[in-house]
Amino acid sequence: MNCQLLKDHKERVWQIAWHPNGQILASCSSDKTIKLWQLMNDQYKLIQTLDDCHTKSVRSVSFSKDGQFLASGGFDAVVGVWMFDGSKYKLIQQLEGHESEVKGVAWSVDSNYLASCGRDKTVWIWDHDDLEFSCNCVLQAHDEDVKCIKWKDTTLYSGSYDNSLIRYTYGEDDEWDHKQFQIEHQSTIWSIDIFNKLLLTTSADCTAKLFSIQDGTIKPIQTLQGFHKEPIYSGSFSYDGLYFALGSADNKISIYKKDAIDELGYPHFALDQIFDAFEFDVNCVAFNPKNYLLAACSDDQNIKVFDLQL
């Protein structure tokens, strides 16, 4: 399989995130920077290094759905917000409030809300007025470090070291309600990804689980286990929901293909391939929003874009 190596970070790369146009990839690292890579003539070129925001590791990075904003979360407890000014991404604000390391950042589909989560066990929701961001809500629902957050439209999900999943919805009395789900992971939930009514969690218990999130419920559909013997740090659906990828501490990436639909209409996935991806832990995997290119990053300081030819 074809694979491009994107090498420039000086320390472990924590996350990568695709721009909605599928042409630009953002990566963030313990080297305190965010790098933007653009596909030019079938090659990824480094086009920007954002080093003016964080004073410690950058743990998470995410583009808004329209590509206008980029957000980052750092171990310095800061959430950075950049805006595209026509040619470059420029830092417009540093949001403070988290008391310790920020582990995840995510934009709601309409870019009205930015969520951040962290070791202080909280999820912060930020909104903006005239490009000025301020805190809308601080949610203290988890009992431990919150590792990941993901929006489905304007509903938010978070996963934590407390092994639970929590869903947040905006209520009529101007407050965010939440509901906790014990989804039978035996350990930390490291990542959440969502495709339509399908929710994927990956965990330190070496499994990934699929759930249906129709009708306000969270219904387990399938558990993928036995493929990785170490924590699964990241999961990502392909743009069409036909595949998903998992990245693990065992340095491998596994790919799963939808191979059936059961009598209730729920999909079933089976292993398509599994391969060694890096020298060390795979921290993040992310399918391109437009094709079957898979970006991944590792503790070995590298980023790779795999042309999976699915």
Partner: protein
């Protein structure tokens, strides 16, 4: 229980063996842990009689112990602890905050005056003298006005809320901490004044955070113990039944002012009194919602409708974060800010008797508690007087050097 600001700044969830306990019983634990052949034995800290002592203060200053400050606090400032202590002391006293009393009155279905009379009788039975906090709130307010008149610091931040204080000291640096009012809280003023008359002093407060305030080094144990409203609820119910108490109508004073639209008695009207001290004849006041109902701006206009100064009332962690953000970007135009950790203020404190979430929401309950707080009270003469005695404290940034985890 504790406010969101305390919960967010509490002790690390990941205990790293290499972190030193502030009173290490075992030195060099990290080096020894890797070697299974070494038997760990505590080498007691240098102390007479080979007795190791760790005080609550030590624990709160440290961030690497096996249990959180919250747990320690709850154990040492419990109702049981209070009941044991009052047997040992000759002359104990207890002060009750108006918010705590209103919560009890609401749940037990008495007027506030009746409730105070009942509590007086209950505590008398235990040989404890009950105080109303109004007199001490008056000193706190007067001191605040005096400090405000004399200061150059803008904004001046009310520091009566220990939830806010704890958050500020742990997460903010000196540039913000220097804005905090140094006036002691009514609880601490009560302790400072009454300690010459009583050998054990307790308070009943609407939150758990006040327990943290009582153990601060600067406060010299003037207050021995803080109980939250909810912790004494059952005791009060039991005694009412046991002693067959008949409530008397007594006259209670109040510092609560509520004649203007912007007045909010939930947290003792600090900003309202500051504004009052600044107002001149024919001046007007307008309030507006800055971001939500817990972030209110109050603007003073002179007789020509020219803006004179702006004040703010900020409740809840999310709004505190927004205020700090304004201060850090130097866009904060307020002269004084009443900051409280709990949304809706002290009436909604984490120690108040818990309302049933499905039958009554905080938004509905708080106005009822306000009614109780102000009904049948005599307005204290709250004209500002130049108090001779200033009851002051201090704050400092607490360095927090935890190892992080992935």
């Amino acid at each position: 229980m504790f406010s969101s600001t305390i919960k967010i700044s509490s002790v690390s969830d990941y205990i790293v063996p290499s972190q030193d306990c502030i009173k290490p019983l075992m030195k060099n634990v990290k080096l020894q842990l890797d070697d299974p052949s070494i038997q760990l034995k505590p080498n007691l800290i240098q102390n007479q009689n080979n007795v190791a002592k760790v005080s609550l203060q030590d624990c709160l200053a440290c961030s690497g112990c096996v249990t959180t400050a919250e747990t320690i606090l709850i154990q040492t400032q419990s109702l049981e602890e209070f009941l044991q202590a009052i047997k040992k002391y000759q002359n104990p006293a207890i002060g009750i905050s108006p918010q705590a009393r209103a919560s009890l009155s609401y749940v037990l279905n008495f007027t506030d005056s009746e409730m105070h009379s009942i509590l007086q009788q209950i505590f008398q039975e235990m040989n404890v003298k009950l105080y109303d906090m109004t007199e001490y709130m008056k000193i706190a307010i007067n001191n605040s006005i005096q400090e405000f008149k004399q200061t150059n610091i803008t904004p001046l931040l009310c520091s009566e809320c220990p939830g806010w204080v704890c958050y500020a000291e742990k997460t903010l640096d000196e540039s913000i901490i220097n804005h905090m009012s140094k006036v002691k809280s009514p609880q601490q003023i009560f302790g400072a004044i009454q300690k010459k008359n009583h050998d054990y002093i307790a308070t009943i407060m609407p939150c758990y955070d006040k327990k943290l305030e009582a153990v601060r080094q600067e406060n010299n144990e003037d207050i021995n113990i803080v109980l939250s409203t909810r912790e004494i609820e059952q005791l009060v119910k039991d005694y009412i039944q046991k002693l067959n108490i008949i409530p008397k109508q007594i006259e209670l004073q109040t510092m609560a002012i509520y004649d203007q639209e912007y007045h909010n008695i939930s947290s003792n009207n600090y900003v309202d009194y500051i504004i009052k001290s600044v107002m001149k004849p024919n001046w007007t006041v307008k309030q507006n919602i800055r971001k939500n109902k817990d972030f209110i701006e109050i603007t003073i206009y002179n007789e020509n409708m020219e803006q004179q100064s702006i004040f703010a009332r900020v409740f809840g962690l999310k709004n505190i974060a927004n205020l700090i953000s304004q201060m850090k970007t130097k866009t904060c135009k307020y002269k004084y800010v009443e900051i409280m950790a709990c949304p809706l203020g002290c009436l909604n404190g984490g120690g108040q008797i818990q309302i049933q979430k499905n039958t009554e929401k905080a938004n509905d309950l708080i106005p009822k508690l306000k009614e109780i707080m102000i009904s049948q009270k005599i307005q204290t003469d709250n004209q500002y007087q130049n108090e001779q005695n200033m009851y002051l404290t201090q704050f400092k940034h607490i360095k927090n050097e935890n190892n992080f985890q992935w």
